[in-house]
Symmetry: D2
Subunit: 133 residues, 4 copies
């Protein structure tokens, strides 16, 4: 499992003094971006040089314990499933040994012009399968 470490910033929190829930989704996406770049895959290249996008079609999170500004969070991320047109990631968020949250995102491949589902590009599929545990 790949682990991405981040720090909760003031802008991640809200007036209740803890992370605003939508920002947990934001930081798991950071982990996903970092993982994909570690795989040698580039968001910039996908957006500019390919005909596909990988929009998220489902996302869910549990929030186990409050997270504060300056907290260091280790986000574990692994490939959940790899299908014909879709794949998923599962995430665990820890502060030290404390599990602070879990999350899941499901992604589909679509054509940039038509927005229709397409089979996962073979190179991407290969990457994902290789790292599937």
């Amino acid at each position: 499992m790949f682990t991405y470490t981040t720090k909760i910033r003031l802008h991640d929190t809200d007036a209740a003094g803890i992370i605003f829930f939508a920002n947990q989704f934001k930081i798991i996406h950071d982990a996903y971006e970092e993982l994909m770049e570690k795989f040698g895959w580039s968001f910039k290249a996908m957006l500019k040089d390919t005909n596909y996008f990988l929009p998220i079609v489902h996302a869910a999170s549990d929030f186990k314990t409050p997270v504060f500004v300056s907290d260091k969070i280790a986000i574990g991320i692994k490939v959940g499933h790899v299908g014909r047109t879709s794949f998923s990631f599962v995430y665990t968020l820890k502060r030290g040994k404390t599990l602070v949250g879990t999350a899941k995102t499901v992604h589909v491949a679509i054509n940039q012009k038509t927005a229709k589902k397409i089979p996962l590009p073979p190179a991407l599929r290969k990457l994902l399968v290789k790292h599937y545990h």
Copy 2:
């Protein structure tokens, strides 16, 4: 069902040209804030004058079709369940007659100091039950 109408702003989108998924969670929270204020309930008063918070412990969204800058989105929101210490909201997001997404949030009442679960404050519970369909 209460409906909150919003417009997708440039900052809600990302370089893929559509709404960034976490921002769908952000705008459903706007709908929740607006609904609660319509109920005569105030976030500012809760944060400053009470001993409880209502953090989200679970959130999930489906994303049905891409949403672009300037799109007008009508967010329907209704009370999902009302339990002893928790409640939920369910959301539908529409652009015109097109369903663009759905979502759910589960909230618990906790004590601001101890962060322990507490029974829903009676006045809040009453409000939620009254609007439960």
Copy 3:
């Protein structure tokens, strides 16, 4: 002067209990988007159907008094200057009669492909000059 009214949301605030400063920049951009659409101009059309962008090259804000969740803010916006390749907007932010902030943004027209400055597109220039002051 065009006035855009918005409400401060929980996600606009941070753990200090007031609006996070960068979010004041976010909401003035909302006012700019609304003004331009009132002019009959479309961000979506610019991004998809033209060869230019209007990036911000300078932005500044003063913050006069703290702003809280649920506060209603009226953002006054007017055209500051219209030059050959650039223009600016000036903003005032009020809560009731209280001035809570001021801001300015300077925009330039650039070619989408080359990112080089270009003269303001004539139709856009006409709109801006017409609404100057």
Copy 4:
């Protein structure tokens, strides 16, 4: 000068394909948070255990060249001035050797309860003066 390195994330960009201007303000605040923590100072402790806040009363940025998703940005930050009740930071943002932007933030010390200006807390003042160049 302290340098904070960050990577532009998809959520920092907008549908024009580059960083949304307000997010440049967001990432310079990340650099400020990191610098203060390097100084041994804590946002969490200020918010919970002291009677003061340090709100930003003025912020300005120049945007020199477009910044894209995945770009690594080195943010140089240094103390600008230290006054009786206020101080400032100045920032330079670089991608490799290219200057992509500059920024400035001015902060004042206020009492958390009264929101009135107060002299900079001596320990904070000492820290800032020590690192003033």
